[in-house]
């Protein structure tokens, strides 16, 4: 399944529940924020090593995948409502980043 097909499925899901009036741009940005907050909660008390190892634990992996799915679903719903092509936008951003961050400079990651 493509991202576009997943977005269409998400739209049909919302339409079947008459959630359109709730899915305004501001509301969806807040909902996206809430899910990113839940993703933070999964990692906040882990040491860096525990965070790296989290996906090897089936329960932790299930929770991580669930929250990342929620983030993705609100992001594609917002893109749908705003008529944004996320793949094209992502590609255009990497194009710009290739100019902003020439290869091989390592630590300038701190500034990006």
């Amino acid at each position: 399944m493509t991202l576009e097909e997943l977005s269409a499925r998400q739209r049909a899901f919302a339409d079947a529940r008459a959630w359109g009036p709730f899915h305004t741009p501001k509301n969806l940005v807040m909902a996206l924020t809430g899910e990113v907050g839940e993703l933070n909660e999964l990692f906040q008390w882990l040491t860096p090593e525990e965070a790296e190892a989290a996906p090897t634990d089936p329960d932790a992996r299930a929770r991580i995948e669930d929250e990342m799915a929620d983030v993705l679903l609100y992001l594609i719903r917002l893109a749908d409502v705003l008529d944004v092509d996320l793949i094209a936008a992502g590609n255009a951003k990497i194009d710009r980043n290739e100019t902003r961050f020439p290869p091989g400079v390592g630590r300038t990651a701190l500034e990006h």
Copy 2:
């Protein structure tokens, strides 16, 4: 281009700059949070009506697409580092949501 191909491009971009050591799970969750914060800043003072109309203004649209691209790029980078299949996770979540939220109930959106 598919989401998987965009993710591979993002990974090659990071590898060419030796950013792997910075791209730990916790760091990427924080970077994702920062970009979602910037997306909030674009919408925070707009009325609901202005927010709906924002994509029709070329400058506003460019800023929105830029921040949504940043959110997507950190999300797919995190998925790559954690070996998560985002499309599969998103589909599995809609499957669960179809059980949790039967069609036709409208306002229970408030609880989801």
Copy 3:
């Protein structure tokens, strides 16, 4: 009780549970983010009018106060760990904002 006294109480609470090792700056920023995410979730599907009226409903008020308390508690814990005087920092910021935003200009709120 002053903010400083509340911060001291929060520190004693953490010390009594040996939570010091978890309360690193990055972890506390992530925990703060998680609580702000929960605050977003309380308001995300409300209309502007419902959001204004929320504090008049006892249950909604209790949830809002609970999440705002969590945000405050992690913020003052972070300030304690980083040795930041929040009241002084807030005052210094309003001093700077008075220069950046001269009175009477209204809509420049959009840029701040």
Copy 4:
């Protein structure tokens, strides 16, 4: 200066600029989110050790204090608009946490 006095100063600042109409509950939650996002950006690429040491660098300390001030200012502005007593709410939350998390259990921090 007390937190209440800082809040009164922040209210006067907003009133002098006629920002009341922008300072709705939802808008302020989004603005708070934006500032927490900026705080994340200051720490996201730092190692845990660099994050601990950040306050000893004058430039880094100034940026951290500036972002923490912004978080505090939007939090107290939201509390003012919603008529929430933050100090009382924080105390009530520690009261509840003392029941939820008996002293001496250490790692249950992961669940809180």
